[in-house]
């Protein structure tokens, strides 16, 4: 199901797994906010923990723990690493 080649949205990354960013599909200020988090191409993202209701999910990005809502995470395409 999960292969190295096809980018998948970040919200589908299972907890505990690591992915690298391949593309951002958002625009303008939304995109800039993602870039500010350091989410540029090639950045490693680890899915850490779901909130009690399942949304948002906490991710480990460049040394910081950041919570992203599903709607935002779905606009970040990643490749699953491990």
């Amino acid at each position: 199901m999960m292969t190295q080649d096809t980018p998948q949205p970040l919200n589908t990354l299972p907890i505990g797994r690591i992915g690298t960013v391949s593309e951002l599909v958002s625009h303008d200020s939304e995109r800039r906010r993602m870039l500010d988090l350091g989410l540029v191409k090639g950045t490693k993202v680890t899915a850490l923990q779901k909130s009690p209701s399942g949304d948002p999910v906490a991710y480990f990005i460049r040394g910081a723990v950041i919570a992203l809502r599903t709607e935002d995470a779905s606009k970040i395409l990643i490749r699953c690493l491990a």
Partner: protein, 480 residues
Amino acid sequence: MGLTRKSTGSAVDGSELVIRKSNPDDRIIALAGNPNVGKSTVFNALTGMKQHTGNWPGKTVSNAQGEYIRNGKRFIMVDIPGTYSLMANSAEEEVARDFICFGSPDTTIVVTDATCLERNLNLVLQTLEITEKVVVCVNLLDEAKKKKIRIDLDELSLQLGVPVIGTSARDGKGLNELMDEVEKVAFGAQKTYPPKLSYGPEVERAIETLLPLVAPKVSGIPARWVCLKLLDLDETLRESLAKFLGHDLAGNVAIQTALSTIWEKLKEKEIAKDTLRDLVVSKIVERAEQIYQLCVSAPKSGYNSRDRKIDRVLTSKATGIPIMILLLGVIFWITITGANYPSELLSTGLFWVEDRLTEFCLFLGAPSWVQGLFVEGMYRTLAWVVSVMLPPMAIFFPLFTLLEDSGYLPRIAFNMDKYFKKACAHGKQALTMAMGFGCNACGVVGCRIIDSPRERLIATITNNFVPCNGRFPPFTKRKQ
């Protein structure tokens, strides 16, 4: 209806860019930094001011000012809002960027978090593009040591081309050394040489084309940075730039023609505005990563693992919400029952005074309206407000600060976000509402931590429905 730039932007916080010097030897020092890195602690330690420091973003509402005198020289310290970037995604970033660019600070101190340096370097590099006169303060060194993170400050200074000083501002450590360097840079005794970042051949070529047109028209800000910003200009910067320069640079015909040819060329290379922005940000992030790897050694495992275990308990499906309810419940219980005793005491005392005042009025033979106005009107109301509101506030706020310092508040937002989202609001509203229980004014001010204008508006308007502890029903019933 709507939140316009004017109603939410820098215009409302009264931030003034021009700082008045009372002496030409005075130096203006800007304090920049990411949110939550102890910037306000550094500011308070240096200026002796008691600005409330707390650990959520947006604490610094506008540019706070203070004075610091050293070796007979006066430094005007300006605490600018904490931001992650200077790309002006929010009102805070706009205020921060405008002050660093157009406030002409003699030195800018960028306060960074030693435990999270990579992310913080992003802002340092962005600041270095605007001004060379920078001193980097690596704060929270004590916490980094606890987490076994080692930072090579000399190497960092070499890589950035500016002085780097390690501090633990809470204990006042390193602040003297910091101000030594700031003084040197501000008075020109120490030159700084931050290396220029290259944004790749396409962007560099575009900057080269613009530079001869732009350079003669700007002074006081680096022309290269202006060129880069002209390529991807947002309206707020255009306004600020025009105000600073006294003419609308972006409206210049020669520059506009040059820009359209540049964009044609860039489009041939399949670079659109989004791609250009990505390119610029990627270069900065990559450089930050590079520097981080050169200067910081952190243990691979163990680092953060304890925090993560605690987080798992505090935010898990089974225990997250119960723990939250319990914690907040305990705080309210302590506040409400605890406040009863001092409240009782205060009201007994204050109303005893009222009786004496009444007797005094009778003794003087004052007309009944005087007694009614001053004793029963003014004094009694004041006594009521003080005895009802002071004790719960004096208990609630310290408790809330404890919760804040423990870093638990963002976890509440994380736990609650889904439910707030159902009401088109944001999880962070849980914090401003909790703050509202203490004082609605504080709660409303705290709403700035919410990024999206719509969600912020909802939080601001509905905060009033949270009864602050002066309005807790048990009290009002008992007293009336």
